[in-house]
């Protein structure tokens, strides 16, 4: 008997040995992008720790030998772990070698992995929905906003993939399918596409992207009991309670305030605005002008240009004439041009480049131009935007593990760092999906009623998605971006709560 008892631990060791011998560290490749952000100081230590905690907690990263400590935790991340990460990103060391650092962080309590999930109540969902549930998507895959449209399309596509994974995990027997349509940045085509989706029986749509498109299709959507969840439309004129449109961005009164504050912070006294003659351009220019005037600045009548025009010579000549007068009176460092447009910014700047005086003053722009890579790729665009220190604002998603995951995935799939609206596009799919899941219905009226509640309790890729009474995103902080040294650089932040600008 004694011999048998002696053999028991031996048998256990033999049985467990293969498990330990083959336990490998599983780390998806895209986590390298997150690590690169951390190495480049694009996210701080706390942000990196949060991401790793989330990834380990969700089982996305599997660290076999890590154990949470019982005693005190280490205060910060030692520098060798960053060095280790850099080697790992470059492929100089393996996953297992990199995992040593993560193990250390877990074992020393810097990364806290929650293992007790019994406190979370188990949510029971119904099972009425079955099979394929189709939603529509209308985005500008061609035209003036194609750059953002293609990125946002990828964001929504990824949202569908991830949401379907989630449905599978919780044992639901239905999945989302997305039917994509190209609005070509054209309000008339957007209406045609919405009509076509309605004819196919699709009443719930992610998009469209632009305010002018929404303005043109809103009447049809309202009267045909459809539902639109837009990632990017922000015109104040469309902030209407109880309509068929929800927008996962703050309306442009906030962006106008942020731009005005930024320009005043930069010492600008005179503002010469130039904007697209459409719903979005008119709304944002009015909001910015109002806020800039209230802050004691002087505002010129500006230039309202025709966005359909294939060239902008008359607009830039008129702009140059106005700017010249103000520069003579106030000096070039006190005068700024506010450009409010889409991808035609390149053509406009190429034309403006011909006028020396427009090269001498600062230029500011909206979120729609943030990370516009055409400006970097084109020699004149780069030269001009560098000379005028082109600076933009874009609504800020609060950094969180989902944000980092989506950002990393899309950076890899698109080959460029995407704009913030991709996160709204991702969340739009999730909010619609969660509303369907909770109600076990695809009825548009029921989903429409449920969305504010879902959005107010959901925290997604852009962070909390609380909506205001008009169905638009309530939070309104903005990141400040600019072209410096041939790159788009994050320069700082505008915080709505205390109306402050913090530059790095």
């Amino acid at each position: 008997m004694k011999t048998r008892l002696f053999l028991l631990p031996l048998l256990m060791i033999i049985a467990l040995a293969p498990i330990y011998a083959f336990a490998e560290t599983e780390i998806p490749d895209w986590v390298k992008n997150v690590a690169q952000f951390w190495i480049d100081d694009q996210i701080d230590d706390e942000g990196f720790v949060q991401v790793i905690e989330y990834l380990v907690g969700q089982g996305i990263i599997n660290i076999p030998y890590a154990e949470a400590p019982e005693g005190e935790s280490a205060a910060s991340i030692p520098s060798w772990i960053k060095t280790n990460s850099e080697f790992w990103v470059k492929g100089d060391i393996s996953n297992d070698e990199f995992a040593v650092g993560l193990e250390w962080l877990i074992n020393n309590g810097v990364i806290k992995v929650s293992v007790d999930d019994s406190s979370e109540p188990i949510v029971e969902y119904g099972t009425d929905l079955q099979g394929e549930v189709t939603i529509g998507l209308i985005l500008p895959l061609t035209g003036d906003l194609a750059t953002h449209g293609i990125e946002n399309h990828e964001g929504s596509k990824y949202g569908v993939v991830e949401f379907n994974k989630f449905l599978q995990e919780i044992g639901q027997e239905w999945h989302l399918k997305m039917v994509s349509e190209d609005s070509a940045t054209n309000p008339v085509i957007a209406l045609e596409k919405l009509t076509a989706l309605n004819a196919k029986g699709i009443g719930i749509v992610v998009g469209p992207e632009t305010s002018s498109n929404i303005r043109n299709i809103k009447g049809y959507s309202d009267s045909n009991n459809m539902l639109l969840v837009s990632c990017c439309s922000s015109a104040p004129a469309l902030a209407i309670p109880n309509d068929s449109v929800f927008r996962l961005v703050p309306d442009d009164r906030n962006q106008g305030t942020a731009l005005a504050k930024l320009m005043r912070h930069e010492g600008i006294e005179v503002l010469v605005p130039v904007w697209r003659g459409d719903t979005w351009g008119d709304g944002l220019s009015a909001a910015t002008i109002k806020s800039f005037s209230e802050r004691g600045g002087i505002v010129d009548d500006g230039v309202r240009y025709n966005p359909e025009s294939p060239e902008f010579s008359a607009s830039t000549s008129l702009l140059a004439s106005s700017v010249r007068d103000y520069v003579n009176e106030y000096g070039s460092d006190k005068v700024a041009v506010l450009f409010l447009g889409f991808a035609e910014v390149l053509q406009f700047m190429q034309s403006a480049h011909e006028h020396e005086v427009l090269d001498d003053v600062r230029w500011f722009g909206p979120g729609a131009n943030t990370k516009e890579h055409k400006l970097i790729d084109d020699p004149i665009g780069l030269d001009f935007s560098t000379n005028v220190q082109f600076t933009t604002v874009q609504f800020a998603a609060s950094k969180n593990p989902i944000y980092e995951k989506v950002q990393a995935h899309l950076t890899e799939s698109l080959g460029v760092e995407p704009n913030t609206f991709v996160h709204s596009s991702y969340d739009a799919v999730w909010i619609i999906g969660l509303a369907m899941l909770e109600t076990q219905s695809t009825d548009v009226s029921i989903i429409k009623e449920k969305i504010p509640e879902i959005a107010n309790n959901y925290s997604g890729s852009i962070g909390p998605t609380t909506l205001n009474e008009a169905g638009d995103l309530a939070q309104a902080d903005y990141e400040v971006w600019g072209i410096r040294d041939a790159h788009w650089i994050n320069l700082g932040k505008y915080t709505q709560a205390d109306d402050s600008i913090t530059l790095k």
């Binding site: 061609t142 035209g143 003036d144 194609a146 003659g277 009548d301 500006g302 230039v303 309202r304 240009y305 025709n306 359909e308 025009s309 294939p310 060239e311 010579s313 008359a314 607009s315 830039t316 000549s317 008129l318 140059a320 004439s321 991808a343 035609e344 390149l346 053509q347 190429q350 034309s351 011909e354 006028h355 020396e356 055409k374 790729d377 084109d378 020699p379 004149i380 665009g381």
Partner: protein, 308 residues
């Protein structure tokens, strides 16, 4: 720059409009059908310039002869495969005009496919693009400022020589004035018409290759500029090459400088109404001088001037 760049913008636009207007007039002279696909022949030139510059990484000016040939062939196919059979069947001018509209839609669709192919295969922006950055400079000015007016001058002189000094030119004039009579004296009217369509489309292709250096290129560029091209031809009289050049210069200069002047005087809101300028030209010409600049008896004005 010593002078306001708006003047160089106006020179470029007017020259290119003149070039497009010559081509449109050449095709109208033969078949008497207003060709609504004409501006899209120019868009073909725009895309050839894009390929030459961004894919082959050569000068955009390399595209000029290629654009002439390809746009000319596309124009010939419109004449040969669509208009000629329709004319043979005795179709009305309205039917032929609608056929050119339908052909335009096909050309735009092919351009859209080409744009998608370019972006997917070569990762080159193929919509809302400009090649302005790829132009050279001369005396601190973009090369296109000189090339556009020089090109129209060379082509105008060349056309003048062909029409007045060569047998083919005489045959062409004869065929356009009275095709039946020309045929009886041995002129191959179909060949003359075919060559006219090649030249008309080819000139549009050249204009397009040059336009890429100043305009925002897109498959839908044609419909955006076609009112200006028609205005230029109508102002020129629609049946006169020299009238077309004058019409192109007049409409082009007025569109750019007129818009700038009016916006300066009355406010920038007027800029959005620039597309109305060619339409006003068309209305005024058709009401006051239906035969355009070429139909006005200028000698009467000269005599009146010398008397006063």
């Amino acid at each position: 720059m010593i002078f306001d760049p708006i003047y160089s913008d106006a020179i470029i636009f007017a020259s290119l409009l003149g070039l497009l207007s010559i081509g449109l007039t050449l095709t109208y002279l033969t078949t008497r059908v207003p060709n609504f696909a004409h501006a899209s022949f120019a868009t073909i030139g725009v895309y050839i310039a894009l390929i030459a510059t961004r894919v082959w990484e050569s000068s955009p000016y390399v595209a000029i002869p290629i654009a002439f040939v390809i746009s000319g062939m596309v124009a010939l196919s419109l004449y040969h495969f669509i208009l000629k059979p329709l004319i043979r069947k005795g179709s009305s001018q309205a039917i032929q005009m609608i056929a050119t509209l339908a052909f335009d839609l096909v050309v735009i669709a092919v351009l859209n496919i080409t744009a998608d192919y370019i972006v997917k295969t070569f990762q080159v922006t193929s919509r809302e693009f400009t090649l302005r950055s790829y132009d050279s400079e001369l005396a601190g000015l973009p090369f296109i400022v000189f090339v556009a007016p020089i090109t129209i001058a060379i082509l105008a002189i060349m056309l003048h020589v062909i029409l007045k000094k060569t047998k083919f030119g005489i045959a062409m004039r004869a065929a356009t004035q009275n095709s039946d009579l020309a045929e009886t004296v041995g002129v191959n009217v179909k060949l003359v018409y075919g060559v006219s369509w090649i030249m008309g489309g080819g000139f549009a292709g050249i204009a397009g290759a040059l336009m890429s250096l100043w305009f925002q290129g897109d498959p839908n560029l044609g419909p955006q500029i076609i009112p200006s091209v028609f205005a230029a031809s109508i102002v020129g009289g629609f049946l006169s090459i020299y009238g077309a050049i004058a019409g192109g210069l007049l409409v082009g200069l007025t569109e750019v400088l007129g818009t700038r002047f009016l916006a300066g005087e009355f406010g920038s809101w007027l800029i959005a109404y620039r597309p109305l300028i060619p339409l006003v030209f068309i209305v005024v010409t058709l009401m006051l001088a239906p035969r355009g600049l070429a139909g006005i008896n200028w000698s009467r004005f000269r005599r009146h001037g010398s008397r006063t």
